[in-house]
């Protein structure tokens, strides 16, 4: 069918080269539209079904609650775009948060403590990246090992006890609300939005961002085009580690305690947020805007089920079902749009 179309086009004038899609279709791709529609329907439903959902307090609580998941998911998105995966992000959040907390407790100035935490996450990402690019381990295995190692270190360093009595100056970064007009916007939400904008611009506008998509789309083609594919991969794992660390530090500051059990299982939420948001596990497809919507959808499902009085113990099953539904719907819609082209 395709070839016939090509033959027919041959006789058409080449002037149509300049035909373009409308601007709004270029900025938001179809993938995100589907998930955005589901998200909006769910939000409208909850707003009508409960009195408490659409209140300023609830909205900002939800935003804060998913901000660190979303921030880590931005990094995860970069890794998955190269057809990799980082399973160590949850452990990374715990260890980086712990590192920052321990520094802060030991009277290191808070900005330096934060930098120390970010460096810890960057180091974890660097090791992941070296395992993948130098030792050529499959990303799944390399980061699965790192998941265990980083978690083990948090237990080992703390002896299993949480680090408490963090300086209030440190806790502020997770607990402070910034007044924007009449709205008390939590600082982690602002950090999330700023990082979303930065990472999104980086991916869509810079040479390195383009190369990340190219490596995920066709690694061999990228290599013969002169792209240093191994450097690109190393870069995404380090970025993922740094972003997970920022999320982990915000989370720790919000809780006011660095528990060795923190963020356990978060890697799955983070990967789910990215995948629900349209990031293809095969690499090369996905945007930060989609990830943001994916993370928001996960959080509103969680909060919504609580508000609707859904039994707590059954919630993970419901969330899992919704993830499957969302992704199945998306796949179905994508197939339809492709064949109907």
């Amino acid at each position: 069918m395709q070839e016939r179309a090509a033959g027919a086009e041959k006789s058409a004038p080449s002037a149509q080269i300049t035909r373009e899609r409308p601007a709004w279709r270029r900025t938001i791709n179809v993938q995100e539209l589907g998930i955005l529609a589901i998200f909006l329907l769910w939000v409208i439903f909850l707003s009508l079904a409960t009195d408490t959902f659409l209140t300023t307090r609830n909205v900002f609580n939800m935003l804060r609650a998913f901000s660190w998941i979303a921030i880590a998911a931005f990094g995860q998105c970069m890794v998955i775009l190269t057809a990799g995966i980082d399973l160590s992000v949850g452990s990374n959040m715990a260890l980086s948060g712990l590192a920052a907390a321990m520094l802060a407790v030991n009277n290191v100035p808070v900005p330096l403590a934060i930098l120390g935490g970010i460096a810890t996450g960057g180091l974890i990402g660097l090791i992941n990246g070296l395992l993948v690019t130098r030792l050529r381990l499959p990303p799944f295995i390399a980061t699965l090992g790192m998941l265990s190692i980083a978690r083990g270190v948090t237990y080992g360093v703390t002896g299993g006890w949480p680090v408490r009595q963090l300086p209030s100056e440190f806790n502020q970064i997770g607990q402070l609300d910034v007044m924007i007009g009449a709205w008390p916007v939590p600082l982690p939400v602002i950090v999330m939005l700023v990082l979303a904008a930065l990472v999104s611009l980086f991916l869509s506008r810079t040479v390195t961002g383009r190369h990340i998509y190219a490596v995920g789309g066709n690694e061999e083609a990228a290599r013969v085009s002169g792209i240093k594919t191994q450097s690109v991969k190393l870069f995404v794992y380090v970025s993922c580690g740094v972003l997970a660390a920022i999320g982990g530090i915000l989370m720790t500051a919000r809780l006011g305690v660095a528990a060795p059990t923190a963020a356990e299982g978060y890697e799955l939420d983070i990967i789910a947020a990215a995948v629900i948001g349209g990031v293809s596990l095969f690499g090369g497809e996905g945007t930060i805007l989609g990830v943001l919507i994916g993370a928001a959808l996960m959080q509103t499902i969680r909060t919504g089920l609580n508000l609707l009085g859904f039994p707590t113990y059954w919630q993970p099953a419901a969330i899992g079902a919704v993830i499957l539904l969302a992704v199945t719907f998306d796949q179905w819609r994508k197939r339809r749009s492709r064949t109907g082209r």
């Binding site: 373009e20 506008r205 810079t206 390195t208």
Partner: protein, 263 residues
């Protein structure tokens, strides 16, 4: 021998892989604005020879001259810098990126940069891609179209267009029509004629002898790592094919004699 210098000259190229001698001292010359067909049976050494020229392999022995000057090609980057571009059989495009992105892949135009952060000049790349496609008469409705939405012929056209985009002196095409339908093959052959009309020098590896007959000026036949024939494309398809095949399978082996006669 003509008085003009070949754009590419490979002399006495030898390359072994372990005990296997893939190339046993091959000479190959490509003239300016010439379309050279490189043919041979499987394992005759034609892909190996072109990989030596494009920098994927380093030869054990032999020299390469570009416009009369000796060059040392030690990697694909070297070859590209010297103006030698390769078009691969399976296109080597990133299907998830659009046409303009693929044409400029690895050579993105930069609007401004701050250390390692280099912001692309997308508009300029799109405009230049449009101009390139128009100049080569390649029919793609928009340079913003993702490659996955293109037909096989269009993909090959984009791959060839990309190879010519950066003032390539020599374009090597590895089986450019192998994976294509009949109508797409016609498109690609048209494109090769267009490139020649615009002054390009091209080497085509192909097992489709009718394609070489149609667009080629000269044919070189390799067999077991040696050049066994090198003569201009003439006559009708049938006799051309018979002659080439007889060299390919070794039924005819008079190359050294022919050369001696011509001298």
């Amino acid at each position: 021998m003509t008085a003009t210098t070949p754009i590419v000259e490979m002399r006495n190229i030898k390359k072994s892989f372990g005990a296997v001698q893939a190339l046993r001292g091959v000479d190959l010359a490509l003239m300016h604005n010439e379309v050279l067909g490189l043919v041979g049976d499987n394992a005759a050494g034609k892909s190996t020879l072109m990989k030596v020229l494009s920098g994927a392999y380093i030869p054990d022995e032999g020299e390469i001259y570009l416009e009369g000057k000796r060059v040392h090609i030690t990697g694909p980057d070297d070859a590209r810098r010297l103006g030698i571009e390769m078009v691969y059989q399976d296109f080597m495009l990133a299907n998830n990126l659009d046409v303009a992105a693929n044409i400029f892949l690895g050579r993105e135009m930069v609007r401004w940069s701050l250390g390692p952060i280099r912001v692309m000049d997308k508009r300029a790349m799109e405009l230049q891609s449009q101009q390139l496609l128009r100049r080569l008469n390649i029919n793609v409705s928009s340079v913003r179209l993702k490659v996955e939405h293109l037909s096989g012929g269009q993909r090959q056209a984009v791959a060839i267009g990309r190879a010519t985009a950066f003032n390539a002196k020599v374009i090597i095409m590895d089986e450019p029509t192998a994976a294509l339908s009949v109508s797409a093959i016609a498109q690609v052959l048209d494109l090769i004629r267009e490139l020649k009309a615009q002054g390009a020098s091209i080497i085509i590896i192909s097992h489709r002898l009718e394609d070489i007959h149609e667009v080629g000026d000269r044919v070189v036949v390799l067999r077991h790592g040696r050049k066994v024939a090198d003569y201009p494309v003439t006559g009708d398809v049938q006799s051309f094919r018979e002659r080439v095949v007889s060299y390919m399978v070794g039924a005819r082996d008079d190359f050294s004699k022919v050369v001696a006669e011509e001298d």
